[in-house]
């Protein structure tokens, strides 16, 4: 074997090993039946306007130009991949990422709401992960709160003329983190602590989710940057056509 071939084999082995030792476990999302019915209805109702807006946002974008479809499909696929990977974290439990930042930055946060619901439905029905009764609450945290924050952070970073990659990293990371913060708040509102009320309860739930999620949020930020670099290198016409990169920008 040549030196290069040996390197490839080693790389393959490392990848196979790291995949093989990742334990399989359930993680994140509020479980089926864990929210009182009233909360399920309210969170579900809150999601509806965002989903409707998302539907129109996608339809308008696609009517404007069909090319956007490929990037939209890739954003959706990114959420599929990222949210199926459960990664061990420093706290000794596993969790997974959301992957919603990419679509929010490339398209609009409301468009991601639709993509997110598809993923959540897939997991709720086939995997008993998350749930149909808690779909509203989970949609709000993963497919609405997260992407909207990611979008806002990216816009602010652009205004501040920060390096685009730094902006993407921050946006995707914070969007991921917020998803878990919102989940904590949702659980805390349904289960206020007897001694300290909702606030004490929020602290407790955050204590479970936040330390686990922090390293994963960093991973999500890095992966989002990687995929955008890939798109910038090979799919410039598409990125220009959806307005992500302005025509006069020369790179």
């Amino acid at each position: 074997m040549s030196k290069r071939q040996r390197k490839i084999v080693t790389a393959c082995a490392i990848m196979a090993l790291s995949l093989g030792i990742t334990p399989i476990a359930n993680a994140m999302h509020i479980m089926e039946g864990y929210l009182p019915a009233g909360f399920c209805v309210v969170w579900g109702a809150l999601c509806i306007p965002f989903l409707v807006a998302g539907f129109f946002s996608i339809r308008n974008k696609l009517r404007e130009n069909r090319r956007a479809l490929t990037i939209l499909a890739m954003s959706g696929a990114f959420i599929f991949v990222i949210s199926s990977l459960k990664i061990p974290s420093v706290t000794g439990s596993c969790s997974h990422m959301t992957g919603t930042g990419l679509g929010a930055i490339l398209f609009s946060p409301s468009a991601v709401s639709i993509l997110g619901v598809i993923v959540l439905l897939f997991q709720a029905i086939l995997l008993a992960h998350g749930g149909l009764t808690t779909l509203g609450a989970n949609t709000f945290s993963m497919a609405i709160a997260g992407p909207f924050l990611a979008f806002a952070i990216y816009q602010i970073c652009q205004k501040l003329k920060l390096n685009r990659k730094v902006g993407i990293f921050l946006a995707a990371m914070m969007g991921d983190l917020l998803t878990y913060c919102v989940t904590s708040v949702q659980l805390a509102m349904a289960y206020p602590s007897e001694s300290g009320g909702v606030a004490a309860s929020i602290v407790k739930f955050l204590g479970v989710f936040a330390p686990t999620q922090l390293p994963l949020a960093v991973i999500e930020g890095l992966l989002t940057v990687i995929i955008v670099i890939g798109l910038e290198t090979y799919a410039m016409p598409e990125l220009k056509s959806i307005g992500f990169i302005k025509e006069q920008e020369v790179r």
């Binding site: 499909a73 959420i79 599929f80 991949v81």
Partner: protein
């Protein structure tokens, strides 16, 4: 070409970082269970509310199967989810890469 080379280096560095972040916890917390934070969440629900909580709704699939989805089948479906996603991304990325190659070939001939 210059920026492309720079990007390749950056991508490699980022990928290594990702791998490290994912693998290092395994060694830091030897023997830990690495269960889901969902389960940690339900333990916390019990602690906060002071009593064991019985979910009022069982997942549709579980009630149809009369029990939990077997672990192996669950990982199969998770793999399916990953596979669908990777397939879509790889398909379009492959097309983009090839298109760019064709374009630059085309430009060279002129």
């Amino acid at each position: 070409m210059e920026t492309k080379k720079k990007n390749t280096g950056l991508v490699i560095v980022l990928l290594v970082l990702v791998a490290l972040l994912a693998v290092v916890p395994l060694f830091l917390k030897k023997g830990a269970e690495f269960g889901g934070s969902d389960d940690a969440g339900s333990v916390m629900v019990e602690e906060v509310s002071g009593k064991a909580y019985t979910p009022w709704f069982t997942p549709v699939l579980e009630s149809m199967l009369g029990g939990e989805l077997p672990g192996e089948v669950e990982s199969l479906i998770f793999c399916l989810q990953t596979g669908i996603g990777v397939g879509v991304i790889a398909f379009f990325m492959g097309r983009f890469v090839e298109r760019k190659k064709q374009e630059s070939l085309h430009n060279d001939h002129h």
